[in-house]
């Protein structure tokens, strides 16, 4: 569904080095790596926000619908949640059920700034779902949420992924546990300029345990 080819990217200093990626339907990828290694930059390239300084860039199906959950909610602060959802193409009748799916039933007429961080992020997730994405991009979806809210968002996501098995997902995260729970493939980005050090598929439960161990070791090493 999507291919990305980068020779290098970033000026004046190259942030990303040689990269060649391929994402197919149904893949749930967790992208890990130390802070500042270029994870968000890579995600933006995949989303089609900008082209690499050198390389073929992103090639994707013309009809590919992308939902992108940014680190900040990036809802329009001057529009209610209902208006925000309708602006990306949600039908008026679907708004309430979309909000319901992220546990925000009855909040359609709230402005984004009236919500807490966790609620606003869920509202932004509802907007991602409103476009019925083939590819869902998540940039640190659990960052700066307390354990309970992070857990409820994680459950919410797991349920959504189960509902749409064909949807591909790329999730940037720090946490090896997230990878173990959500992913069936793991990327590890590191170095300067950054390259993919690791591209593993997680097929079985023992794979997962091993991956979590390795990732935790990597995380501690930094």
């Amino acid at each position: 569904m999507l291919e990305l080819d980068v020779a290098y990217h970033g000026t004046p200093r190259a942030i990303l080095g040689r990269l060649s990626l391929r994402v197919t339907a149904g893949e749930r990828i967790c992208l890990l790596g130390p802070s500042g290694s270029g994870k968000t930059t890579l995600l933006n390239l995949i989303a089609g926000l900008g082209v690499p300084s050198s390389g073929n860039g992103v090639r994707r199906d013309a009809t590919l619908r992308v939902g992108y959950l940014f680190q900040e909610h990036r809802l329009l602060p001057w529009r209610t949640l209902r208006q925000n959802l309708m602006l990306v193409g949600a039908a008026p009748d679907d708004v309430d059920s979309l909000l319901d799916r992220v546990d925000l039933a009855g909040h359609g007429d709230y402005l984004p700034d009236q919500l807490s961080l966790g609620m606003a992020r869920r509202a932004a997730l509802a907007r991602c779902l409103a476009v019925e994405p083939d590819l869902l991009l998540l940039d640190e979806p659990f960052a700066s949420l307390d354990t309970r809210r992070a857990q409820s968002l994680r459950d919410c996501l797991a349920a959504l992924l189960e509902q749409r098995p064909q949807m591909a997902m790329i999730c940037v995260t720090h946490d090896a546990q997230d990878a173990a729970r959500l992913a069936n493939r793991v990327w590890y980005l590191d170095g300067c300029p950054a390259q993919l050090r690791w591209d593993e598929r997680l097929e079985h439960a023992d794979d997962r345990a091993a991956v979590v161990q390795t990732l935790s070791r990597l995380a501690e090493a930094i």
Partner: protein, 254 residues
Amino acid sequence: MSVRALAGWVGLPTLLLAWWLVAGLLDSALLPTPGAVFDTLWQAQRTGELWHHLGVTLRRVVISFFLAMALGTLLGVWMGRSRLADDLLDPLLVALLNLPALVTIILLYVWFGLIEAAAVLAVVINKVPNVAVMVREGARSLDVRLEQMADIYRFGRGRRLVHVWLPQLAPYLMAAARSGLALVWKIVLVVELLGRSDGVGFQLHMAFQVFDVATILAYSLAFIAVVQLVEQVVLRPLERRSSRWRRVGEPHHA
């Protein structure tokens, strides 16, 4: 009433009192008392002359104000978003900003004759650069993160303009409208004085010929009152509406 609420009512009455005292002491036709000015105003109102000239001037103000805002906004957004357009037009803009209003007016009257179109065009040319400069500042500071969001969700031009750009440009447009209204009506009076045969500016001109200070003050005060009314009835409520979302800041939920 609090001290602050009272403070607003000190300046103007004091001025009125001082005027009344000085005029009474001088007892000269060159500085009529507030009462005499009000009489003149009342006379002009009764004959309908005041309304006719106020109406004509107001029409010119409204037409040139909207033309200038529309053109200035287009120009400002274009220059704010496109580096090339900015490089291309910036020197022109600086030149226009520094062109005296009087020069534009005289040149247009000389070239096109003493006609209505020349009068309005002169006002518009004087105002457009101010609007463009202010709106350009706004267009330059549009939030990149919301732009990316609009790219991802494939917002078309119209949708982007109305829902992403306009709310961000609103404070700049309000500032431009405020200063615009004040500037436009002053220039309209000059335009009328130099080349039209109706309007407040024309009446001021006639009164000046015979040193009729009461009429000059009467017409000036009447038009200032009209502009104040526009500010209170149109601009303030518009501003409150466009910035309503800012006041919800405090989260309702923990």
